[in-house]
């Protein structure tokens, strides 16, 4: 039935919901400004943390402050953008309690798409702004041998990093179908993952690499692409080009996310037990 629709017509439901969310958040100017300011403050504090850390050690994990700034900027920008557009997905218990998910079942769109497009946190734009400033500063302060490949990798890294964090939120949502108080568990990986992603991953030990390097591929959202841009060798004898695998990391995360969501929905409907 929906197959013959144009893309524009297919997007109509999602556009209508998102536009209304955006309007309602920005319609009270003073309160919206306050939201933006507080969100920016969170971003600035997290950046300051990196800076304080650096002041005590000059060099962290083989990187200087300006280089760490690039790692932080990349990872934090990606996370903030994902948090803005997908952050509500890991609040699934709220949707379950309010019966919103049952309401989604009664509408002719896919459940996950409805969930994703049911909200957008515009205030997180401010935090993404902090990430973007850090990224630009990181790019400017370092001697990067710019070439088309560098530009391409930068774009790939941002898109992939955004997708990876977005996938983390969806994964968390799927898991929360099963776990009571599941947010406690998933937060450790989603927000812990964000924290890990903004650090120079060369300081991680091997178990940490297993978890946040590969299983939840946080190292691919900032650290590894940044190393390639900077011309610094990756740790643990990884090949130079490993930073180019950021899109693979995104695909892997989304594979986990969609499986998690699918199992979660099956569990909710009671089909697969």
């Amino acid at each position: 039935m929906a197959d013959g629709l144009t893309l524009r017509a297919r997007m109509r439901p999602y556009r209508a919901v998102l536009a209304s969310r955006a309007r309602s958040q920005s319609s009270y100017r003073a309160s919206f400004a306050l939201d933006l300011a507080s969100s920016m403050l969170v971003g600035v504090i997290e950046l300051a943390e990196i800076w304080v850390l650096f002041h005590n050690v000059v060099e962290l994990g083989g990187l200087e402050f300006s280089q760490i700034l690039l790692v932080f900027g990349l990872a934090d920008l990606c996370f903030s953008l994902a948090d803005m557009t997908f952050g509500h997905c890991d609040n699934l218990p709220m949707y379950l309690r309010a019966g919103t998910l049952d309401v989604f079942y009664l509408r002719p769109q896919p459940l996950l798409l409805q969930l994703v497009t049911s909200d957008i946190s515009l205030r997180r734009l401010a935090r993404a702004g902090v990430g973007a400033v850090a990224l630009v500063a990181g790019l400017a302060l370092n001697d990067i041998a710019w070439s088309p490949a560098h530009v391409l990798l930068l774009v790939l890294a941002i898109v992939s990093g955004y997708a990876t964090f977005a996938g983390m939120f969806v994964w968390a949502g799927g898991v929360q179908f099963f776990l009571i108080e599941g947010a406690e568990t998933t937060n450790a990986f989603v927000y812990g993952g964000r924290y890990a992603a903004t650090q120079p991953a060369s300081v991680w030990n091997r178990p940490l690499w297993a978890v946040f390097g590969f299983f939840f591929p946080m190292a691919f959202t900032g650290f590894l692409p940044a190393l390639w841009l900077l011309g610094v060798e990756p740790p643990y004898g990884m090949p130079d080009w490993v930073g180019w695998c950021a899109p693979l990391a995104a695909v892997w995360t989304w594979t986990m996310a969609l499986l998690s969501w699918r199992f979660g929905v099956r569990h909710y409907q009671g089909g697969g037990g």
């Binding site: 919901v17 049952d102 309401v103 079942y105 769109q109 409907q269």
Partner: protein
């Protein structure tokens, strides 16, 4: 599908839940689970245009049935088709033909004006600009929503919100409308308005109605068929008169008399229930099968001057209780 194909058809529809058994000790509790049968071998056929009351105690299986009809829950056994579609597999196509009002779950956006919620829902159901305009106008007029169309949903009274919820569920002109406790908590006037609207909607559009309710008034004014469910099983399927006949439900005539009167006993097919204020107000139960309120009133009038009267309908809880008791 044709005009006579059923809107709802279930056959041996069963849904079980695995629940933790809390009656055993703590060690076994974690391991031992028991099976709770929420809906048990339900076989029902509802034709187009019917208006069906689905009644039963809390936890009897009403919500579980509705969730299986709409594709939210997968049946454990048995089959179900709604509007000729398989609810779980064809959920998205079915959503275009079914509208559901859950008393406890809102389809509206609480921080947006009612009008805005309708606009979004029109986009969700991909209504054309003309269809959206016409249907919205129709619903606004019939449900008398013009005065609060620009009000954010969170500021609406319960009665206004329920009207908006009903409009939201009906905006895409569904063939089947399922209402879960639509009049709960509403005042008399709001209830009446909502019922009148549903009657008119059914008459003009041939909409099939399925509603769960604890309100006998809903059943009497809206439904021409009643299903009673008891512990997941169908306990009664028929019309209201037959239901009263089955359980022998009595109506109660309450009369206010001009002066203190002796208890009005001995009237044909009537039972004296109680007297208040030295017999100024008396309550008489009568069997609607064998006599009428008018006849009872005439008999009362021979003995005393009647100032005022009300007729109490059998309470739905009472009817359900009697059915349950008869089955046990």
């Amino acid at each position: 599908m044709g005009m006579t194909d059923p809107i709802i058809e279930t056959s041996g529809l069963t849904r079980e839940f695995r629940v933790r058994d809390t009656s055993t000790g703590s060690v076994q509790r974690a391991l031992k689970r028991r099976t709770l049968v929420a809906v048990d071998e339900l076989s029902v056929r509802v034709g187009p245009g019917e208006a069906v009351g689905y009644i039963g105690a809390n936890g009897a299986g009403k919500s579980t049935t509705i969730k299986m009809l709409t594709g939210i829950l997968v049946p454990t056994r048995g089959s179900v088709t709604t509007c000729g579609l398989r609810p779980v597999q064809d959920r998205r196509r079915l959503a275009r033909q079914v509208g559901v009002v859950f008393g406890q779950r809102s389809q509206l956006w609480w921080d947006l004006p009612v009008r805005e919620s309708f606009r979004i829902l029109a986009a969700i159901h991909d209504l054309s600009a003309t269809a959206e305009q016409e249907r919205t106008d129709e619903l606004v007029e019939r449900l008398e929503m013009a005065e609060f169309l620009g009000t954010p949903v969170r500021q609406l009274s319960l009665g206004q919100r329920m009207r908006a919820e009903v409009a939201a569920a009906l905006l895409h002109s569904p063939r089947l409308v399922i209402l879960d406790e639509p009049t709960i908590g509403l005042d008399v006037l709001s209830k009446q308005r909502l019922r009148e609207f549903l009657v008119a909607e059914r008459r003009t559009h041939g909409t099939t109605l399925l509603l769960t309710t604890h309100d006998m008034g809903d059943v009497e004014r809206l439904c021409d068929r009643i299903l009673v469910i008891d512990r997941g099983r169908l306990a009664y399927d028929g019309d209201l008169l037959g239901l009263s006949r089955t359980v022998g439900a009595e109506r109660v005539l309450v009369v206010d008399l001009a002066e203190a009167t002796e208890d009005l006993t001995g009237i044909t097919a009537t039972r004296h229930l109680a007297s208040e204020g030295h017999g100024l107000r008396q309550r008489l139960a009568f069997d609607a099968e064998t006599t009428t309120a008018a006849r009872v009133l005439a008999a009362v009038s021979e003995r005393a001057e009647v100032l005022d009267l009300t007729v109490e309908e059998p309470d739905i809880e009472d009817v359900v209780r009697r059915i349950y008791a008869a089955r046990r």
